[in-house]
């Protein structure tokens, strides 16, 4: 299969807000259950180990009209919760047996309780994660939270999950994460070969497909991309930061690349890259997952930076590793975490003379011309001064 064929499939999955692929997976066996989760990270291994399908819910994008959802939110709240509510009310999630709301901000936090009120028959859990990074403090707390989550899932599925089931799931996800890392690495090395719009669609496919199928898809893509060639352009190399929750429309990603920037790292969909190293399978699985979270997870605004030195550390590392020439802070409008974090990150990269621009978007932003113009000017200035 060519990369174009694979991406075509991904695009169809991305556009399908009835989640047919996940529905089909569920329909294949009457005992199957589907657990939805929101950004930025949940321990998907637990869902997998319980024999269920984790389904990443990334809002409604720019294709879905929000009719009911706006009646639930004031104008000054971002768009992802309203389009997610719309998905629920419009019965597009009626096949979903449980919903997980990770600790990312007060909007998603409160959405967990709203979901309890609006959909009382669905299993709903708020996923608290540690902001204390010591193994015997935050680690133990998180292990116990995961145990409680697993108990809930076991009850829902009627099936006990053993440590070996968990280890197996960790292994499966380690493979998936390694493949994602590899594609990110290759994009950074030859960004003209792996446009970010493609990489993004590949990652999005992982939100709705069973992980094994997704890993096969990633392998196929890597094989296909190795034998294809695409022309190299004189683009500058930039990193996108701030887009970890509400996702930009695909057109926005394309616009940035069309305006003369190669995106060499980003913080779009993070669940498949959150844990940055393989999770060990030879120790207690809860301990392994907790330790990976504490010591090897991605840096986003939703996490506490323990020291001033930790602020922006991963961004600076990424700038170095990916030889980025600039940063584009692209955050959803009204996104407290991203927007509060941005001035600190901007200061940090300025200390290293890394230029940046900032703008806000919504998942249904339609006007790309200003963004193209801003990114284009940014690219030109980088080329001119570097």
């Amino acid at each position: 299969m060519s990369t174009a064929d694979i991406i075509k499939r991904c695009e169809a999955l991305y556009e399908d807000l009835h989640f047919s692929a996940s529905r089909e997976w569920k329909a294949a066996d009457p005992g199957r259950k589907v657990i939805g989760y929101m950004p930025v990270y949940v321990p998907v291994e637990l869902i997998h180990a319980a024999g269920m399908l984790p389904l990443g819910i990334m809002g409604g994008g720019d294709q879905m009209e929000v009719i009911h959802g706006d009646a639930y939110y004031q104008s000054y709240i971002c768009r992802i919760p309203r389009s997610t509510i719309e998905l629920g009310i419009a019965k597009r999630l009626d096949f979903v047996d449980g919903m997980l709301f990770p600790s990312i901000c007060d909007v998603i936090r409160n959405l967990s309780g709203m979901w309890k009120l609006m959909f009382p028959d669905t299993y709903v859990r708020y996923i608290d994660v540690p902001q204390n990074y010591k193994d015997d403090i935050g680690g133990l707390f998180y292990q116990q939270e995961m145990r409680e989550l697993l108990e809930g899932l076991e009850e829902l599925s009627g099936r006990k999950v053993s440590d070996d089931d968990l280890r197996n799931s960790i292994k499966v996800y380690n493979e998936n994460r390694a493949l994602i890392r590899e594609i990110y690495k290759q994009r950074s090395a030859e960004p003209w070969k792996i446009p970010t719009a493609e990489l993004y669609l590949l990652a999005r496919a992982g939100m709705v497909l069973p992980v094994e199928e997704h890993s096969d898809m990633l392998r196929e893509y890597l094989e296909a991309v190795a034998i294809e060639d695409k022309p190299k352009r004189d683009n500058c190399r930039v990193i996108i930061n701030g887009s970890f929750c509400e996702q930009p429309p695909l057109n926005l990603i394309k616009s940035i690349e069309m305006s003369g920037c190669y995106i060499v790292d980003d913080d779009y969909i993070q669940v498949n890259r959150w844990l940055k190293e393989d999770v060990p399978t030879d120790i207690n699985p809860f301990q392994a997952l907790a330790s990976a979270f504490l010591h090897h997870s991605a840096d986003t605004a939703a996490k506490y930076a323990e020291t001033e030195e930790d602020v922006g550390k991963q961004l600076l590392e990424s700038i170095r590793e990916n030889r980025a020439e600039g940063v584009i802070f692209a955050a959803p409008s009204f996104c407290d975490p991203a927007l509060l974090w941005r001035p600190m990150l901007a200061d940090k990269i300025s200390e290293h003379n890394v230029p940046y621009i900032s703008f806000k978007y919504a998942e249904n932003s339609g006007q790309m011309a200003p963004i193209r113009e801003q990114a284009g000017t940014f690219a030109d200035s980088i080329k001119l001064w570097s």
């Binding site: 639930y72 709240i77 009120l117 996923i127 902001q131 707390f141 509060l340």
Partner: protein, 432 residues
């Protein structure tokens, strides 16, 4: 001012005491350079005032500074300064007011400069923004930061795991950290003593808030309550001064009940109480008096509010307990209003609507505050459904004057009161 008794407004002793207490904390802060006292900055909800006092630290609460700046109409300029220096117009205005205050010399209400904090105690309870706020302050001050993560009651209950986690952080992070900054050894008996006093003050505070069940209500449980909350939610919980203040306050309110009197507003006693309301959400501070006036002029009295529970749900039974001081502090932090999940918040408001025999439920939705605001429209519909009483929704901001539209709020409130009248089956009486 037809609804108010035309008497001269006399300040009651509790009002003077309250003012003096808050001022004394500012004096303690601004004189810390001379006294050698160390300063801790921390947040109101779930604050650890008793513990802080065990280390002889002076407690600085940036939210209170923002409120002060809001009420003195200084916050608008501060927010604009912060926005000019790169802070987004979309984020919490308390944060921007604080940052703008720093850039304008960090002047306390007593006209003297505030000290730099020696430590930031980030008690992360009920609001995500707190975390980034103190990261921003640390970015400025480069001082030590102690993080106390308080898990959210996602399932509407406090679990063993949550309590153990908080206690462990207290023992292994917060207490050793405060010992180091202050040079004072932790003495658990000192903590117990303070918690005993906390509970005494809390008993009286609950009595005060519940006095609104009387008809007429002797207090306004929103606009008036923000003054009552002052000492206990800030730097005085655990002190004898707080115990004394609430005793005096209680006595005064008892006297008002005995005489069948209403609350004291900035323009005198409120005699007209046609509408008993429950209010959700913080008030607007930049036009606080004008905002309150829109209520008492129309004969509306607030009988219960959720904002008066941000520093603890004492009316639901919680008391600081000297028997298990650290567990008790943990339960306190875990139990604050904004750390409750949405179904709990709806249940609480429904309870207030019934117990306080309210005529309606009003939400003051705050642009700044996702912790409160996200989900409030659903809450309002749930309350209406459960109680059959009408709800209303207004939108303002805490300390950003650009988001307080007097005309809009006035129109909204007036039509709301008419709606309450209609639901009662009569038309609105012409104001006396």
């Amino acid at each position: 001012m037809s609804n108010q008794a035309q008497t001269e407004v006399i300040k009651e002793p509790s009002m003077i005491m309250q003012k003096e207490l808050i001022a004394s904390n500012y004096d303690a802060l601004t004189s810390s350079g001379e006294t050698g006292k160390k300063v801790v900055s921390t947040f109101v909800p779930g604050n650890l005032n008793e513990l802080i006092r065990c280390f002889d630290l002076v407690n600085n609460l940036p939210e209170i500074n923002a409120i002060n700046n809001g009420m003195r109409k200084k916050s608008g300029g501060m927010i604009m300064d912060a926005e000019k220096s790169g802070h987004s117009e979309d984020v919490c205005t308390y944060v921007k007011s604080d940052i703008g205050m720093m850039s304008q010399g960090n002047i306390a209400p007593n006209g003297k400069p505030m000290p730099r904090p020696d430590v930031l105690l980030l008690s992360y309870t009920g609001c995500y923004t707190f975390m980034k706020w103190f990261e921003l302050l640390r970015h400025e001050y480069h001082c030590p930061t102690l993080m106390l993560q308080v898990p959210y009651q996602g399932d509407g209950k406090i679990t063993r795991n949550m309590v153990e986690y908080v206690v462990k952080q207290l023992k292994e992070v917060v207490i050793p950290g405060l010992e180091e900054v202050s040079g004072v050894k932790f003495d658990i008996d000192r903590l117990r003593e303070m918690m005993k006093r906390s509970a005494q003050a809390e008993d009286d505070l609950v009595w005060v808030l519940e006095s609104a069940k009387h008809k007429p209500s002797p207090i306004d449980a929103y606009f008036g309550a923000v003054y009552y909350m002052g000492p206990i939610f800030t730097a005085f919980r655990g002190t004898q001064q707080a115990v004394d203040y609430y005793k005096v306050l209680r006595k005064e309110i008892q006297a008002r009940i005995d005489k069948g009197q209403g609350p004291i507003t900035p323009e005198g006693e409120q005699t007209d109480q046609r509408y008993r309301l429950v209010v959700e959400g913080p008030p607007n501070w930049t036009s606080f008096r004008e905002f309150w006036k829109l209520f008492y002029d129309e004969g509306a009295v607030v009988v219960a509010s959720t904002y008066s529970k941000v520093g603890g749900l004492y009316d639901q039974g919680f008391r600081h307990s000297p028997d298990n001081p650290l567990e008790s502090l943990a339960e306190y932090c875990l139990g604050c209003y904004t750390n409750n999940n949405m179904p709990q918040r709806v249940d609480l408001i429904e309870q207030y609507m019934n117990e306080y025999e309210a005529d309606g439920f009003l939400t003051n939705s705050i642009k700044s505050c996702n912790s409160f605001a996200a989900g409030e429209l659903l809450m309002m519909r749930e309350i209406e459904k459960r109680t059959g009483k009408p709800g209303a929704f207004i939108e303002t901001d805490l300390v950003d004057p650009r988001y307080f539209s007097h005309a809009n709020v006035k129109n909204r409130l007036e039509s709301y009161f008419q709606m309450i009248e209609q639901r009662r089956g009569g038309s609105k009486p012409i104001a006396a």
